[in-house]
């Protein structure tokens, strides 16, 4: 079958349009579900870092309900605070979480930091998005690295604001051990965290 250039062009255009139409339709049909899932994912991260308990196999909708019932979201200056005020008899303490983001070694690093009622003591830390080298920098997402931060303070005894991530040396109230072989990632995480920490301190010292 001999086909001219116009036929070929027309065919390509028609096929492309049909495919594009189909994809647009599918995308707009699934958009609300996809957005709800992404939203629930973010809220699950916030609930986790705040230490709020919820059923591990909760659906996206249940998660959103738990979040709406237990976490208060408030805007304060440049920051969005996620505040969890536990019931008085639960023995848990009030916690506030703040999101942070910045450039890592290979890609953006995004996470959340949770602070206790004094707004100085770290209660939890998560990295929900990172593309660091698996096994090296990627270990920032591991529990053993993140657990080091719990109980540390974002201000040292002398009143200097900032967290130090460094191997060796004297231990300090605002220092955690870096990951061996992942110096670049740790340096970048330190910069990102300290930027967030400075904003937090500025906000709470008002």
């Amino acid at each position: 079958m001999k086909q001219g250039s116009f036929y070929t062009l027309g065919y390509a255009g028609a096929l492309g349009s049909v495919c594009a139409l189909l994809l647009t339709a599918a995308s707009s049909f699934t958009a609300p579900y996809r957005l709800a899932n992404a939203d629930a994912e973010m809220k699950r991260n916030i609930l986790d870092v705040l230490g709020v308990r919820y059923s591990p196999d909760a659906s996206s909708r249940q998660l959103l309900e738990v979040f709406a019932a237990k976490v208060k979201q408030e805007d304060s200056g440049e920051l969005t605070l996620y505040r969890y005020i536990p019931p008085a008899d639960s023995g848990e303490v009030e916690t506030v979480a703040v999101a942070f983001a910045g450039p890592g070694l290979w890609g953006p690093i995004k996470g959340l930091i949770a602070l206790g009622p004094d707004a100085e003591t770290i209660r939890g830390l998560t990295f929900y998005e990172q593309e660091e080298t698996p096994g090296l920098g990627g270990e920032i997402a591991s529990q053993s690295f993140r657990e080091q931060f719990e109980g540390k303070k974002i201000v040292d005894e002398a009143g200097n604001v900032g967290i130090i991530i460094k191997s060796g040396g004297q231990s300090a109230i605002n220092k955690v051990d870096a990951i061996t072989g992942a110096t670049m990632t740790c340096d970048k995480v330190e910069v990102i965290l300290n930027e967030a920490v400075r904003k937090i301190v500025k906000e709470f010292k008002k």
Binding site: Q3, Y11, A12, L15, G16, T30, Y33, N37
Partner: protein
């Protein structure tokens, strides 16, 4: 489906002109895309650390190769020869993205686990290969059978690898612990990349041994 006799196929026995079963067997067994043709190895290594993700990936491939074969075959007499490959890729990509969007909307956890590998089906040699080698020359219904057969051949191998990797790597079956307690320590190697290579190699060796010398004849 049962009452639509294809008028195009002469001397038709059944729906696919008597070639249906042969095509099915060819794709799923004697010319298995993974074990014999060694196609689609990348995704087979990447997503098989859990049985569930292997099954979803297999389902995705069955869906995509069946649908793309159908449309490539339907359009085969109208597609200009020069741009046929672009047309095939456009059709394949459409179905892959449809499946990906569906996963993201209704099966979020799985979508996160599979990551980019669903989207990468677009470049899967099995799908493109079947469109080019089969759907361009054969009627629609038979092409669908061929797509399903090849998807199935891929899915079954994936499921077998996924089953053993999950079982030995985590001691679980569909996320429930079956090998556990004090007498079994999960072998982490199995859920890492090297485990995938070992598992795939063993499965291919067994597959070829079962298929016997007949396969060797076919190759000549």
């Amino acid at each position: 489906m049962a009452n639509s006799q294809p008028p195009l196929v002469p001397c038709s026995k059944g729906l696919c002109g008597g070639k249906g079963l042969l095509t099915l067997k060819e794709g799923a067994w004697s010319n298995n895309p993974l074990a014999i043709q060694m196609l689609g190895i990348c995704s087979a290594l990447a997503v098989t650390n859990r049985l569930e993700s292997s099954l979803v990936m297999g389902a995705a491939l069955i869906f995509v190769s069946a649908c793309s074969n159908l449309f490539v075959s339907l359009l085969r007499k109208h597609t200009p020869h020069r741009i046929r490959m672009i047309a095939e890729v456009a059709i394949i990509a459409t179905f892959v993205i449809l499946f990906d969007q569906f996963l993201k909307a209704f099966y979020w956890d799985m979508s996160k686990q599979l990551g980019p590998y669903v989207g990468l089906i677009i470049t899967n040699c099995i799908v493109m290969g079947r469109a080019e080698a089969f759907a361009l020359q054969n009627p629609p219904l038979l092409s669908v059978v061929d797509g399903v057969a090849n998807g199935l051949g891929y899915a079954v191998i994936l499921a077998i690898i996924g089953f053993f990797r999950e079982l030995f790597g985590t001691g679980q079956f569909f996320g429930c612990v079956v090998l556990g307690g004090e007498w079994y320590t999960p072998n982490q190697l199995m859920i890492l990349a090297p485990g995938a290579f070992f598992a795939l190699g063993i499965v291919i060796a067994i597959f070829n041994a079962l298929r016997g010398p007949q396969g060797e004849e076919n190759k000549k």
